[in-house]
Amino acid sequence: METVNYIIRISPQLLVGVIGTLQVYFGAIFPALVMGVFFAIVKTAGPKPLRWLLNVYTWAWRGVPLLLQLMIMKYGVLPLLGGGGGDFPGAIWVFALNMAAYLTEIMRAAIGAVDRGQYEACRVLGIPYWRMMFRVIIPQSVRIALPPACSEAINLLKDAAVISVISMQDIVRVTNQITTRDKTVIPYLCAFVIYLILTSLLVKVFGLLEKRFTAYDA
């Protein structure tokens, strides 16, 4: 009973952490989705120099720890931009670009996995290239990309914990503070459960999306 009361007592603080994590997460994931799809198309069909640039981008971003990217943003890029612009937008950019790098590769592979016959059917019908991409190829590749994109989305949610290192309020940082103050591990256990709930919700959402995108499959 005492534990329950304790949890209720610290729940407003926990909530602050959850909101912090979700703000960065959702702030990043939508731009990341748009960038990922767009970059994948450019990487498939864009001009050579742009494709090369995007290769460098996905190679660099996927090859460097997220934490380091965050540090570079906070202590390198933001000061360059005239003393800040704020940690929060900075963090969102880091996460968005990071997730976009993964999504780009996932989508590019998915576009490549669409049957050649689909392209030929479009050509024979005279459907222009961009119409073909948006009406025929992309819808089918999104479906192929959903499962790997789901695991990336879960990774990003967990990885968002690194913002605690640059002193932003998130689930991990908040529980850490409470634990140090109250000398109990209960906040950690709360964080444990909160993460499980959040990732399960994500899996659920992607499950629904997949269902929607495979409705046409028997």
């Binding site: 019908l125 409705a215 028997a218």
Partner: protein, 286 residues
């Protein structure tokens, strides 16, 4: 539409697809006024080191049904795919309705302006062995996608047109079904309706029944026969010898990178001149 029927009627006997000897008679004596719809001249094509076509010459007149047969890997699909530009030719000339759509290494022949080529290719329908329906669209959506995006036909009008084409292949009751819910024969009929929705001047069929279970072949061939009765110009690659014999005005045999025979079906099947054709028919029919 009207002029096609007239020329076609001259080029082939009225009901060649149904009557046994009808098509042959039509195939033999050609109308002088018949208009050439496809002309391939000295076509060469290789894939890397592999030479597939070496000097193919071929004409198809409006209203004609020309079948291409030959051993596997002899280049039948490649001929069709060179006609509509799915493959780039290495040498020769491809003309559709008098428009040069491809010309390589041939003095005096030069491709027409891009817009003209696009316009003439838009009147070229193709049906694939593997259907290539859009899996995320219903049968009707498959049929109306190109009319709406290419011809900018408004949705309501396109739906009417689509339903008409689906009715044409006997599938108006499946308009809202996704391809995964259709049998192979139904899928191929939707694919034919999709091609017809662009009101093509001629159609290319690349083994339209080869991916089908035997009991589903007939329904697709029936649709193609009905097109032949309406004097649709067609080039058909098929291994269905009975059908080929029945529907064709001319049968072409491709082997060793060349056309080795080009005859009316009766002569082709009854008295093959070329030993390779004889051997092939012997294998196919026995």
């Amino acid at each position: 539409m009207g002029e096609k029927t007239q020329v076609g009627a001259g080029a082939r006997t009225g009901d060649g697809a149904r009557a046994d000897g009808g098509a042959q008679a039509g195939g033999g004596a050609r109308d002088d006024t018949a208009e050439v719809i496809i002309r391939l001249t000295n076509l060469h094509k290789s894939f890397g080191e592999l030479s597939v076509l070496q000097g193919v010459d071929l004409t198809v007149e409006r209203g004609q049904v020309v079948s291409i047969i030959g051993p596997s890997g002899s280049g039948k699909s490649t001929v069709l795919r060179c006609v509509n530009g799915l493959e780039k030719i290495d040498r020769g000339v491809v003309e559709i309705e008098g428009v040069v759509v491809a010309a390589v290494g041939t003095p005096g022949a030069k491709p027409a302006p891009k817009e003209q080529i696009r316009a003439v290719l838009a009147k070229t329908g193709m049906v694939f062995q593997s259907f290539n329906l859009f899996p995320h669209m219903t049968a009707l959506q498959n049929v109306i996608e190109a009319p709406m995006t290419v011809k900018k036909i408004p949705k309501a009008r396109a739906r009417e047109l689509g339903m008409e084409k689906l009715r044409r292949v006997g599938l108006d009751d499946k308009a809202d079904a996704f391809p995964s819910r259709l049998s192979g024969g139904q899928k191929q009929r939707v694919a034919i309706a999709r091609a017809l929705a662009m009101e093509p001047d001629f159609m290319l069929f690349d083994e339209p029944t080869s991916a089908l279970d035997p009991e589903l072949v007939g329904e697709v061939l029936d649709v193609i026969k009905s097109l032949a009765r309406e004097h649709m110009s067609m080039m058909i690659v098929s291994h269905e010898m009975g059908f080929t014999r029945e529907v064709s005005d001319r049968v072409i045999f491709v082997d060793n990178q060349k056309i080795v025979a080009d005859n009316p079906p009766e002569r082709f099947f009854n008295s093959p001149e070329h030993p390779r054709v004889a051997a092939f028919l012997d294998k196919m029919l026995n």
